[in-house]
């Protein structure tokens, strides 16, 4: 008598995340019911009531797949990454934050203390004359209370545990999610370490007309109305398409807005931001340094534009703490708020 097919054990967890990746799983719509038939979900805090102690009680390697979204920003998230790695056969970095740091990794541009000061002291609506700050350990009359330790830097998942697969996107589109789930269920996964998305840049599938790439000025998205049929880069709007993996369907382009790279770098463009910087800069026409400088000044925020989703995956990673620059930044801040 043939053995009934055992249900897969599936875990979904969110670290420094927004919840969008969890919604992305729900956005496979009625296919979620198929997932429920094929898998027992043993952890999914947004939707199910299993607690950390339930995960601790699982046998090692008893979870078939863990879909882990969110960056690693504090000690609790690191501990859960390690715990889930221990309990899971396959660990998937799900979404841009787990893969590359995502938007939260933009915090790597800032000193933790200056962030601290902004939130608890200098925001205009905050009333905190006693300069109270949250404590990692606090004694209250009844006992001790703890809060996780916040790291100075934001880390991606494979900084702290071995990752078997990467599913990029912010969030991964439903089609990609379903493709990945199907591959898992059918046991048809590519070699470990693979990214489950296209290998080419999204320019290959983008339907916009590409003609001659010569930029004479850069425009920010609110400064003019672009031609909806033509390549945005050719119209002077920075679009990270050339260095970003395909697979998203160019949904942002379809709404007449540029790509900011949430699928991460193509295999050739490992340093996502530097590659796009190079591509954008060298599109500019001209030879006179002063003229070139004026045009290139139109790229107003190189770090935040080119590394929008991938700062924790970059070569420099975090801002260098340096005298002078820090002081200048702080003075600016006090004046600003």
């Amino acid at each position: 008598m043939p053995e009934a097919k055992k249900k897969l054990k599936l875990a979904l967890y969110w670290a420094a995340s927004c919840g969008g990746c969890d919604i992305a799983v729900l956005d496979i719509d009625e296919k979620i019911l198929t997932v429920a038939e094929l898998a027992d979900i043993v952890l999914w805090p947004v939707a199910l009531d299993f607690k950390y102690k339930d995960v601790e009680a699982l046998a090692d390697q008893s979870v078939d797949v863990c879909l882990f979204n969110g960056a690693v920003r504090n000690s609790e998230q690191r501990e859960l990454a390690e715990l889930l790695r221990q309990k899971s056969k396959v660990m998937v970095a799900f979404g841009a934050c787990a893969c590359f740091g995502g938007i939260p990794a933009l915090a790597n541009q800032f000193d933790r203390e200056s962030i601290f000061r902004r939130v608890y002291d200098t925001t205009p609506s905050t009333d905190n004359p006693g300069r109270v700050r949250p404590q990692t350990k606090l004694s209250v009359p009844q006992g001790d209370l703890h809060l996780p330790e916040f790291y100075n830097a934001v880390y991606k998942l494979d900084d702290v545990v071995e990752v078997d697969y990467y599913i990029p996107g912010c969030p991964p589109p439903p089609e990609l999610v379903w493709e990945a789930i199907t591959a898992i269920v059918e046991g048809k996964l590519p070699p470990k370490g693979s990214t489950l998305a296209g290998e080419r840049s999204l320019c290959h599938t983008c339907k916009r007309k590409k003609e001659d790439k010569k930029v004479t000025a850069f425009h920010r998205v609110h400064e003019f109305v672009p031609d909806p049929e033509k390549c945005l880069l050719e119209q002077g709007i920075i679009c990270s398409g050339p260095v970003t993996r395909e697979g998203c369907g160019e949904r942002c382009l379809n709404a007449n807005m540029p790509c900011r790279g949430c699928f991460g770098p193509t295999p050739e463009a490992l340093e996502h931001g530097a590659s796009m910087l190079s591509a954008a800069a060298t599109l500019v026409e001209g030879k006179e340094e002063a003229e070139l400088a004026e045009v290139l000044d139109g790229i107003v925020d190189p770090l935040g534009t080119f590394y929008r989703f991938t700062l924790a995956d970059s070569l420099l990673r975090i801002r260098n703490k340096s005298l002078g620059l820090e002081e200048k930044a702080e003075e600016g801040e006090e004046a600003a708020s």
Partner: protein, 169 residues
């Protein structure tokens, strides 16, 4: 705001520290210029690690970042004077990249003195020596930058799996 462990205070602490400067020099002009400085017995600091490329236009900004990532305290890119590029327009690419790249470095808190783009012709051995001298002096004053791994270690001291950057594909 001085932070214990900042580069300046570290420089004071680390005796015998010598700046490490990586120099990407284009084959046709600046590398030849450096060669000439050598042949002419012009003194220039031994801190430079020279990497010969065919054209300064070959230098992707990622190479410069990689140098800093690995522990370089300063990076020099040498190319032909505008109009003299062996490949006609390669050095214009370098110039365009540099104009944006230096602002990126600033956003990363890398002090402006650590990165330099210079046009050095094959006959300008003296210019090469002078530029090398100036750059090493500036970097010495700025102190060690530290590799990305070292800087991450100063940030949180976590044991990390990845060495600190450059893609996961």
């Amino acid at each position: 705001m001085t932070q214990a462990g900042s580069p300046k205070s570290q420089a004071a602490a680390g005796e015998g520290w010598e700046p490490k400067v990586v120099a990407f020099l284009c084959n046709w002009c600046s590398y030849t210029g450096a060669d000439l400085a050598g042949i002419s017995r012009l003194k220039y600091p031994a801190n430079l690690r020279i990497i010969r490329v065919m054209c300064s236009g070959r230098v992707s900004p990622a190479f410069v970042l990689k140098a800093f990532h690995e522990g370089a305290d300063g990076v020099l890119v040498g190319g032909c004077h505008p109009g003299d590029c062996h490949y006609l327009e390669g050095n214009y690419k370098t110039l365009k990249r540099k104009l944006v790249f230096e602002r990126l470095l600033e956003q990363f808190g890398i002090e402006p003195g650590r990165f330099r783009l210079e046009w050095i012709s094959g006959g300008e051995g003296d210019k090469f020596a002078r530029v090398a001298e100036e750059l090493v002096k500036t970097v010495r004053e700025l102190g060690p930058l530290g590799s990305t791994a070292e800087r991450l270690g100063r940030a949180d001291g976590l044991a990390l799996r990845a060495e600190g950057g450059g893609g996961n594909a």
